[in-house]
Structures are given as structure tokens and as C-alpha cells.
């Protein structure tokens, strides 16, 4: 079981990264919408996975993207921030009946409302961090917020749609 499980995870990681690098990195909606779907691989890690594991996974996933986009450690920084926020969000969102051992975030397991809240908060954290660090000043703060909002909506829709195809169980 574990081997197949690992293989599955690896496959999802590769597919999502390839989609991001070769498709969505080329999308630019009026210089404001830059959809980013790769946070999905961190969002979909089972809730009970240890924090260090999630954060290291986030850091290295981000670093792979940085290799491809010449952005130093921008993706790594923002994805790690999201992974850290994930710990807090998952704690806050814990349902009455506690989390099961292998529960994986998603509509199937936790329902629409839980998933929408979980996805939107973490996508906003990631995008805001990303655009703020990219701009690296507060002079164009309005633009950072606008980019966060518009890109966030695009990413959110794409990720929810993708979630319907991967890890349905």
C-alpha cells in the first residue's frame, strides 16, 4: 500500500509542477492575474502529517519552481509561509469529531464549506506573501492587494477544479 501511495503522491507532484511551469506560468490576465496552482500539492497533504514534514515539502516544492523561474527563493518563501499557516488553519478548523489518521483535505472528506474556507484562506496567505515579497516594498501596496485578489480567485477556481480529478478518495 505504502509504495503505491508514495508513487501516487509523486505523480501528482510532477503533474501539478509541469502544469504550473509549462502552462500556467505563461498565463497573464491584464498584468494582474497570475494563476498559481502548485500550492495544491501542499494543501492536499493529509491533515495529520507532522508539521516539519509539510514545511520541508513546501520549501523544496517552492525551490523547484524557483529553479525554473529564476526567482531565487520567492516561491520557496511563500509556500513555506503557507505551510506554516496551514498548521494554524487546520487546528482552528478541526471538526467536532476529531480528524482521522489519513484524512486528506478536500470536498469529499470535509464537505464544501470546510474546503472553501481552508483553500481560500491559505491561497490568500500564499499569494499575498508572494506578491508582497516580489514587489519588496509597500509603495505599490494597492497593486499587491489587487494582484493577490485577482490571481487568488483564478488559482482558487483552478485548484478546486483540479481537486475533483486528483485524490478523490
Amino acid at each position: 500500500m505504502t509504495f503505491k501511495y508514495t508513487l501516487n503522491n509523486l505523480l501528482v507532484l510532477i503533474v501539478v509542477l509541469l502544469l504550473q511551469i509549462f502552462v500556467f506560468n505563461n498565463v497573464n490576465v491584464y498584468n494582474l492575474g497570475f494563476p498559481m496552482i502548485y500550492p495544491l500539492v501542499i494543501l492536499l497533504i493529509p491533515v495529520k502529517q507532522p508539521a516539519y514534514w509539510v514545511m520541508l515539502a513546501a520549501f523544496f516544492t517552492g525551490l523547484i519552481l524557483d529553479f525554473f523561474t529564476n526567482s531565487g527563493g520567492l516561491h520557496a518563501a511563500s509556500l513555506t509561509a503557507m505551510a506554516f499557516a496551514r498548521i494554524l488553519v487546520i487546528n482552528k478548523l478541526e471538526p467536532q469529531a476529531n480528524y482521522g489518521k489519513d484524512d486528506r483535505p478536500g470536498i469529499v472528506k470535509f464537505g464544501l464549506q470546510w474546503t472553501v474556507i481552508y483553500f481560500s484562506i491559505l491561497i490568500l496567505v500564499h499569494h499575498f506573501f508572494y506578491f508582497l515579497v516580489e514587489e519588496s516594498s509597500v509603495r505599490h501596496f494597492g497593486e499587491v492587494l489587487l494582484k493577490t485578489g485577482i490571481s487568488g480567485i483564478l488559482s482558487f477556481i483552478l485548484m478546486i477544479a483540479l481537486n475533483a480529478f486528483i485524490f478523490r478518495s
Binding site: L63, S71, E135
Partner: protein, 271 residues
């Protein structure tokens, strides 16, 4: 001591988070420097191969457009040659002078335009004679300069990069200015330091000044879209639009200056 361990155990995600962020920010600050020397860049073998594969596919979609551009350039060069030929035949041109600049064709296999610090990747590297600091132009204007070179690939700083500074010349008057990009609008570059005696009007052309070894003199840079003389100022506030096809780069030329190393070492003598 036991309390300390307990404390660390309880808050280890926070420490790990801070630790990883520090590493990430060190990498970011390295990549934003003018000559970024970080190991995270797309001149690497792995990423280079990936982008080359992608370019092999997407290249076909733009073949027609690329062809048209090259055709137009061919025609222009033919005209130039014929003009020089008549001049040379009449003995008016110094034909024994040595060639200083050479242009090498290269393919852009990856480039970005939507960020504040944009780069492009070329399919030529050390083994093709590429070195850092070479200028890159396309058939219509300047594109950027090479900043990182690996064996088979090289990465260049695009004109659409907050760190790009280019010495430009107002073609009509010869006034020298400095062009930069703020990172907001791909259609707008700013030129400073052009004095008000230059009489700049909208539609004028800015060309390279030839003061650096990156580009030869007189290569097109941009068309003036706005020229204002602020009250009490001796300098114009100029906005230009790049003439190069910076948003969809395909075929470019790398500028090789024959005496580059000699000139650079001469100009950089430590004080």
C-alpha cells in the same frame, strides 16, 4: 534545561519556519543582485533541457511570424550592403579598419515578462564562446544582457528588469541619458538625464550610446511616447516604448565585442 527542550519541542514549527524563510530570503536577495550568482537559475542543465524541449514544440507555432521578421531584416541588410558596396567602390569607406563587433544568432528558450525582475534563457553557453556581460539584441532593438553562463545555456537580464540600466542616446541631438524600468508597465521605460537643449518630441528614436561594450553605437532602443519638461528642471522626463519584440522573444543576436576584456579591465582599474 528540561524546560528549554520542552519549549523548543512545543514551538519547533515556528523555529523551522523562521529557519526556512531565512534561507529563502538569502536566495532571493542573491537573485535580485545585478549579477546574480545564486545557484538557483535556469542556466542549469536540468532546467535548460526542460525549456529547450518546450521551445522545440512551441517554436512551430511562431514560425510564420519569425519568418516574416527575418525576411524583413534580410531585405534591410541587403539594402545596406548595396549601399556600402557603392561607397566602397568609390573608395570613400575605410575597408582596412578592423571589425569590433560581431553578432551571433541564438534562440530564446524561455523568458518571462510579468515579473519585476525578468530574465531570459538562451540556448548558447560557454562552449559556444558566451561570456557574462554580452549584450543581446533582436532584429528591432536591444533585449538585454547575459548575466549567467553555463556550459550549454546562458541566462540574461531582460530590459524588463528593475536592475536594467542602459545608456541611451537621443538620435536627433546626440544627448545622452540613462534608461530604466520600474517594473509596472511593459510598454513604458523611463529615460533620465536628457538635457532640455535636446528638444525631444514624441516619436523620436532613442538609440544605444556605444559607451559600454554591451551594444554597438546606434542600435535602436525605443520610441519616445511622452516627453515633459518639468518647470525649473534642466532635464526631460521621458517615457519610451521599446522597439524590440520583448514580449515574444524567439530569435536574437548576441553581441560579441572583440576587445571587451581589454576594455573592461582598462576601465575597471582599482583606485
Amino acid at each position: 534545561m528540561r524546560n528549554l527542550f520542552l519549549f523548543i519541542k512545543q514551538f519547533y514549527p515556528l523555529f523551522l519556519f523562521l529557519f526556512l524563510e531565512i534561507i529563502a530570503f538569502i536566495l532571493i536577495s542573491g537573485s535580485n543582485a545585478y549579477h546574480h550568482t545564486t545557484f538557483v537559475n535556469s542556466s542549469h542543465k536540468v532546467t535548460g533541457v526542460f525549456y529547450e524541449k518546450q521551445d522545440n514544440i512551441t517554436e512551430y507555432f511562431e514560425l510564420k511570424q519569425v519568418n516574416e521578421v527575418l525576411e524583413a531584416e534580410n531585405a534591410m541588410l541587403r539594402n545596406k550592403i548595396s549601399r556600402f558596396k557603392t561607397l566602397a567602390d568609390s573608395g570613400k569607406v575605410d575597408t582596412v579598419g578592423k571589425v569590433v563587433y560581431e553578432f551571433w544568432p541564438a534562440n530564446v528558450i524561455n523568458h518571462t515578462t510579468q515579473k519585476k525582475y525578468n530574465y531570459f534563457t538562451l540556448d548558447k553557453g560557454k562552449k559556444d564562446g558566451m561570456v557574462e556581460g554580452m549584450g543581446v539584441i533582436d532584429s528591432k532593438g536591444i533585449v538585454g544582457m547575459v548575466t549567467n553562463v553555463s556550459n550549454n545555456y546562458s541566462v540574461g537580464l531582460s530590459m524588463l528588469n528593475n536592475n536594467a540600466r542602459t545608456s541611451v542616446k537621443h538620435k536627433k541631438s546626440g544627448a545622452i541619458g540613462l534608461m530604466r524600468w520600474t517594473g509596472n508597465d511593459v510598454l513604458t521605460h523611463y529615460v533620465e538625464d536628457i538635457t532640455k537643449t535636446a528638444k525631444v518630441v514624441i516619436g523620436d528614436t532613442m538609440v544605444t550610446s556605444g559607451y559600454s561594450t554591451f551594444y554597438p553605437e546606434g542600435i535602436a532602443v525605443g520610441i519616445v511616447t511622452k516627453a515633459e519638461l518639468r518647470e525649473g528642471s534642466n532635464f526631460y522626463d521621458i517615457e519610451v516604448r521599446l522597439t524590440s519584440n520583448i514580449l515574444s522573444l524567439e530569435k536574437v543576436y548576441v553581441v560579441n565585442h572583440h576587445d571587451k576584456i581589454e576594455l573592461d579591465s582598462l576601465e575597471n582599474i582599482p583606485e
